[in-house]
Amino acid sequence: MTSAANPSLPANPGPGGLAFARGLPRALTIALTAAAVLAPLSLILYQSLLSAPFFDANKVLGLDAYRFIFADPDFWRALGNSLLIASGMTLIAVPLGGVLAFVMERSDLPSKRIIEPLILVPSFVSPMVLAFGYVVSAGPVGFYSVLATKLFGGVPWGLYSVPAMAVIAGLMHVPNVYIYASSALKNLGSDVEEAARIAGASPLQVAMSVSLPLIMPALLFSSVLVFFLGLELFGLPLVLGDPEGHLVLSTYLYELTNKLGTPSYHLMAAVAICIVALTVPLVLLQRKLLQNTRKYATIRGKAGRVRELPLGRWKWAAIALVCLFLLVTVVVPLSGIVLRAFVTNWGLGVSVIDALTLDNFRAVFEEPTHTRAIWNTVLLGTIGGAITVACYTAIGFATHRRNDAWSRIVDFLVLAPRAVPGLLIGLAFLWVFLFFPPLTPLRTTIFSMWLAYSVVWLAYGMRLISSSLMQVSPELEEAARTVGARRGRISREITLPLIRAGLLGSWLLVFMIFEREYSTGVYLLGPGTEVIGAELVSLWQGGAIDVVAALALINIVLVFIGLAGALRFGVKLRD
């Protein structure tokens, strides 16, 4: 996480007791983080080594679970598909996200203020909903497909193959890369780029050989994150993988809940442990690649001024790229959802006008659980999101400009939960809340949902915070140190005020992520903890697709309102 230049501050010398007292907040922060992450993860590990649910009296310790899944051809097929999809989407999302960030940050592209929130749309709509939107609009009998059949006599695309899923997933994750890449670019003075431009490089050459290599740490981090997200991808393959029977790891996990008749936790846990094992080398690789982080340090004391690069004749290419991206990832799926929300039925030979209705929305508002879900989701995103950002900030300070073993442990702690599919980590949280007595009274409150969300999205949020922290050049902190301020005081009086704008931006991004999260909440869902994302999964299973479409649309509108309001009141997405 602490990837840019970060000379460690020397430890504060002082009387032993005092030093201990000053180290206490940090130790406490790290301990709490470790507890929140390791409690569910170790339960999963333990469960994978048993033959029955861990609370069952007949359980036996052993490796049978691993033996079963390794002998199951479905596991290997799922693993293959997952690796294919995860690498495919990384290959699509990272370059595209990087180039989009470059165009948005550096070029004189018109109407950037409008385009930017649109680019982020896929990151705050639940992938399950987006995938369903694609089915309605571009599936075999979707309305664009019907149009295409009329025009070209056939549908030149397909949705249900593994490569198609990789492409769609790749496009959906462009915003994840974009956010990190553009905030890294913001920190980069544009003097080097101008030099390249003067030397005759085209904008593309500037992007490829100057700007993007300079933000390598951000790109590498987002590659790893996108790959992780690819391994745990659930909603998309649930909707698009079913028709042709393509399994991925998380849908295989889902299959295991029924394959043996009763849910086989030990098998599910074993699969999750395999995924976590897959991600360990990735994290190590990332660390190795970034070992020599100093060479990326371009912000020293005074940041260079950023000047827009004139794109010249490349402008149209850039505009076309942005528009194509928005068309495929935003317009196509969202138009599908909007249409579905307002009709009773659709498809081949159906006149949409005859099928128009508002009943779907009536059904949402007639149902108290749905209105409670809307309310809870908003609460979780706004107030919950703020508390989450506060926690992330505390963790950020605990590792900020420290390069000791503890920071390295936190680095891994932060990434690990995201490697476990949301469905299972949610189940593990249910176990924690059930079997750890101090927490049991909180199980049926929205707190359980909040904790699970905050742990699952640690990697995403921590990166936002630490990149804000990195922006504060060490000189300022060192100056405060020279006049005798201690670490805690420097954090409170120098660093924190300086990153305020960055924290507000992170809050907004965390809000959006929390609004869309869906699989983590499935098992924690209950009276008092209804959230839209998990309700959507449950309704989807139950078959109330009318209500799914209407509720999903309401969710999207809510996030838009939040986003527009925040931007209007001066919150910047990135500082």
Partner: protein, 364 residues
């Protein structure tokens, strides 16, 4: 005198609002159960029937017993099972009543000793196959149906029985390539249960499985998905679909056609039991009795749009009407130990293996 009669009548009319009277035909000591239930004040129900569908039941129950609130949780069948066993193991049993369409999982929980024994006064009115050890009761009578797209499938292509479904698959496999759908046998416990029952009644099951393989059938874990895709025309035929949902959708969706198979129609019954660990055991009894009562069944067959399991009910969807239409071709899946046979992993995997072998043979 007149005023006195009027007053008495008024008092009688108001009476139910203050204290519950024992329903007709119930034993006199039921008054004690009612009083205890009202003292408990609520009943927690875990159910696979979604809240929207169950709302009329909840409202009617709360109108009848204003002092007992219903805390209703809708979950899918596996989530429900997962939560129940985890909560019971943690000593925090939250559900008083379990009500699920996963008949086999329910019976398994009963066999593992999670259910309370209770002789409901409504039992004599239920068909004998719907009562299990006085611990679990079948509450609905939902046919398992075929669905088709009305715009695109017509005439003799509409399968009327299992044999014609198999024939259409095998003789017109080019036309139906990728256009036939059913439950995913790996992911859907419901689908698995239907297929196992099919092997009991339909000798040509292997032809059907090969036909599925030949047409490259599409499978889903959720009923809604199948209804949506047959309605849109992405798929044309659906096999063994939960009929209650299909009929409800067909009522307002002109694209969707529903067939009750003529040779035999499987019938699923949502199973209800009272948790042994119930925190509101008396309220749970009152709720269960209500669901099995003529009044509750009338709501199930009416506004809830599932089928009433009792034969003495007049409503839109009832067992009586189905029986009249199909006679002895109706084959209810019994609430019995038999249906848990395939929850034994080895047996289940064997069934899956055979199923897949036939699919592969058909695909060749």
């Amino acid at each position: 005198m007149l005023t006195r009669i009027a007053l008495a009548a008024l008092a009688a009319a108001c009476l139910p609002a203050f204290a519950q009277t024992v329903p007709a035909g119930y034993p006199a000591n039921y008054a004690g159960t009612l009083a205890a239930a009202e003292k408990e004040g609520k009943v927690v129900v875990y159910s696979t029937t979604d809240t929207k569908a169950a709302q009329p039941l909840i409202k009617d129950f709360e109108a009848l017993y204003p002092n007992i609130k219903v805390e209703y949780n809708d979950l899918n069948s596996t989530e429900m099972y997962n939560r129940f066993i985890a909560e019971v193991a943690a000593g925090q049993g939250a559900a008083d009543v379990m009500w699920s369409s996963a008949m086999d999982l329910q019976v398994k929980l009963v066999d593992e000793g999670h259910a309370m024994t209770y002789v409901s006064p409504e039992v004599p009115k239920l068909p004998h196959w719907a009562v299990y050890k006085n611990q679990a009761w079948g509450t609905t009578y939902e046919p398992c149906v075929f669905i088709y797209n009305k715009r695109l499938v017509t005439g003799s292509d509409i399968p009327q029985d299992h044999a014609s479904f198999a024939r259409i698959l095998n003789t017109e496999s080019a036309k139906y390539k990728g256009k036939v759908t059913t439950y995913d046998i790996d992911k859907s416990g419901l689908g698995f249960m239907f297929f196992v029952q099919d092997t009991k009644y339909f000798a040509g099951m292997k032809d059907l499985e090969r036909g599925f393989g030949k047409t490259g059938y599409r499978v889903y874990s959720a009923t809604g998905n199948m209804l949506e895709k047959v309605s849109s025309g992405e798929h044309l035929l659906g096999y063994d679909v939960l009929g209650a949902y299909a009929l409800v959708r067909a009522k307002k969706d002109p694209n969707l056609g529903v067939v009750l198979p003529k040779d035999y129609t499987l019938v699923l019954s949502r199973v209800m039991f009272i948790s042994k660990a119930a925190k509101h055991p008396d309220a749970a009894k009152v709720w269960t009795d209500y669901i099995l009562s003529a009044r509750g069944q009338k709501v199930i067959g009416g506004a809830v749009e599932l089928f009433a399991v009792r034969n003495d009910i007049d409503a839109e969807y009832t067992a009586a009407k189905l029986d009249k239409e199909l006679g002895d071709k109706v084959k209810p899946i019994p609430v019995s130990a038999e249906i848990t046979t395939y929850l034994e992993p080895a047996k289940r995997l064997e069934f899956l293996k055979d199923w897949k072998a036939e699919l592969a043979a058909g695909a060749k």
